[in-house]
Chain length 117, copies 2
Amino acid sequence: MNKIDTYTPTECKKFILPVRDVIDLIGGKWRLPIIIALSFKIHRFKELERQIEGITPRMLSKELKELEINGLVNREVFNTMPVSVQYSLTEYGKSLDKVIETMRDWGLTHRNKIISE
Amino acid sequence: MNKIDTYTPTECKKFILPVRDVIDLIGGKWRLPIIIALSFKIHRFKELERQIEGITPRMLSKELKELEINGLVNREVFNTMPVSVQYSLTEYGKSLDKVIETMRDWGLTHRNKIISE
DNA sequence: AATACTACTATACTAAAGTATACTGATATA
DNA sequence: TATATCAGTATACTTTAGTATAGTAGTATT
């Protein structure tokens, strides 16, 4: 990790901010399930609701909105009967994959370590 | 990201678990500040309390305990007057650095993207 | 005419995370 | 004797995150 030269509380906070951003983006209970589902394929609202066990439409709607605002998810409305709304990952959203993979690798090692103790 | 073959809710949850572990480990409001402080140098309790602006001894104590239980932080008591307790990152705790760095890199790009829009 | 589907929203609630404030016991210093 | 330091703990509170349940508008099917 690139070390900080002047280790003041202010420097430290500045260093942490971008990491915090990532945690806030993917950190809720339902963010990862949504992102992983969308990394697999484009989903409609009801499809996501069925795919992600236990999620309520309120949370799904809320989280999709947040992810859209942050540019990770794309929302497209189609004039079918009844209307269909498709959610997909943006290229930017897909770029999170390598971050998630790094976290996953460490997490798997962690799990093995815990189990082997 | 290593894609899942059979995309069932169960498979999906299993895939997410290790990622969730990492988020739970470093995800609270005070975990990163503590880890970063300790990655810089060994700290005593009061040093951490002064270094990390706004933290209460209750939260500091609580989070250090959690980090110790999870093997990221080491606690050593010295029989000085008054007693001193030193907290340091374990080798395992230090291994989180590369994960944090990956997150930070993505987060910095995210910040630049948001600003440039 | 009644029911069902889609994509949500509204309201009220519970649970988890974090804060505020004061306090403890052992020792040292003024 | 009064005050300070260290490393915390105890109790009560607020704030944020997530849940439960019901309802909406528009269209299609039975």
